[in-house]
Amino acid sequence: MTEILRTEGLKKSFGSLEVLKGIDLSVRKGEVVSIIGPSGGGKSTFLRCLNLLETPTAGEIYFKGEKAPRSGREITLYRRKLGMVFQSFNVFPNMTVLENITLTPTLELKVPKSEAEEEARSLLSRVGLLDKAEEYPRKLSGGQKQRLSIVRALAMHPEVMLFDEPTSALDPEMVKEVLNVIGDLAAGGMTTLIVTHEMAFAKNISDRVLFICDGVIKEQGSPERIFNAPIEPETQRFLSMVL
C-alpha cells in the first residue's frame, strides 16, 4: 500500500484561464486510476502536469515522497519515471519501429545497442508487432502505432504509465487491440493513470475512478460506486450523457 505519486493543491493557469484549481491526489503503487469527465475539464492538463510537460502554476507533485523538480536537467531525469501515451500516438516517423523503441535507452541510459534491440523485440512480440520491427511507422495502422508508442514508453522502464485518451483517435475495430495491451499492463501491476471515454473499460480495469470537472476532482471512488451510484449532480449528468 505504498504511495508512489501524490499531488497537493496542484494548479495550472494559461494566462487568466485557471484550468486546474487545486488537485489533491494520492496514487498507490500498482493502482489503476481512470479519469473521466467533460471536455475542457482539465484531464489532459492534469496528466501533462504530472510529467512536467506543463509547469504547474502552484502546488506540489511528489514522486515516492520526493518533490518533482522545477527546472533544468532534473526534469529530464524525472520524466523517465513516468511513461506517457498520447491520443495522437506521436511515434517518430523518421525511424523504424525498432529505432523508435531503442532511441532513448541507447542514447540516455547507455544501454548497448544489441541489448536494447533484444529488449525491444521482446516488447514488440508482447504486443504482436514483432514482424513490423524493421518497418517505418507510415506502414502501420493506428492501432499498431499506438501499441508501438506504448512499448516505446515501456522500454524506459517507467514506474507509472500515463495514458491520455489512447484510443480516441482510433477506428472502432482497433480500439480493442490497444485496450487489451493496456489492460494486460495494468493487470501486471503497472501503476496506471488513464484518461478515457471507454466507460466499460474503465469500469473493468480500474481500482478507482476520478471524475474531473472544472479543474477539480468533483468525485472519486470505486468504479462500481461512481458508475452505479454517483452522488454529485455533475457526475450524474455526465454519466447520463455518455453511458
Binding site: 510537460l53 529530464t76 498520447f86 506521436n90 511515434v91 532513448t104
Partner: protein, 218 residues
Amino acid sequence: MKILAILKKYYMVFLKGLGGTLWISVLVVLAGTLLGILVALMHMGRIKPLRWITDAFVEVIRGTPVLLQLYFFWLILPKIIPVELTDTACILIALIVNASAYISEIIRAGIGAVDVGQWEAARSLGLSESNVMKRVILPQAVKNILPALGNEFISTVKGTSLASVFFVGELMTSYRTVQSATFLALQSLTIVGIIYFVLNFILSKLLRILERRLMVSD
C-alpha cells in the same frame, strides 16, 4: 550572327563570369546557412535580448532592398574593420548577411512545421533537450528545410547579379565588360540571360529530384 561573333571572341569572359557567379552563390549559401543556423537558434532560444536582436535583424534585412544593403556594407565595412578589405569581400559579406536572415527564417519555419506532438513524445520519454532537437526534431525539419534552401540558392544565383554594380567578377559583370568593349548591349545581355536561365533551370530540376527523394523516404 553578332551573338555568335561575340561568343567566339568573348566566351572566356562569360565562362569566367559564370564561374564567379557559381562560387559566389555556393559560398553565400554555405556561409549564409551556417550564420542562418546561429540566427535561428538565437531567435528561438530562451534568452530574451538575443531574441529581440535577431528579430530586429531579420526584419531589417527583409524590409530593405538588397542593393541598398550592398552599398551599405561596401561603405561601412572598410570604416569599421581595421584590415584592408577588397570590394569583393565587402559584397560577399553583405550577400552572406542577407542570405543568413532569409535562411534563418527557412530554418525556423522548418522546425516550426514539425508537429508539437513530436516534441512532447520525445520529452516525455526522458530525452535530453539537445537530443530531442538533434535526434527527433531536426531530422524531420530537414525535410522541410532542404527544398526551401534550394530555392534560396536559386534566388542567390540571381541576387549575385547585383554585385556587378561593384564590378565583382560574376556573370552580370561579364555582360558589362563585353558590352563596353563591343557596344553590343542587347546581344551580350541575351547571352548572359540565357546562361542564367539554363543554370537556374538545371538547378531547379535537380531540386525537384531531391524533393522527390525526400518525399519517398517519408
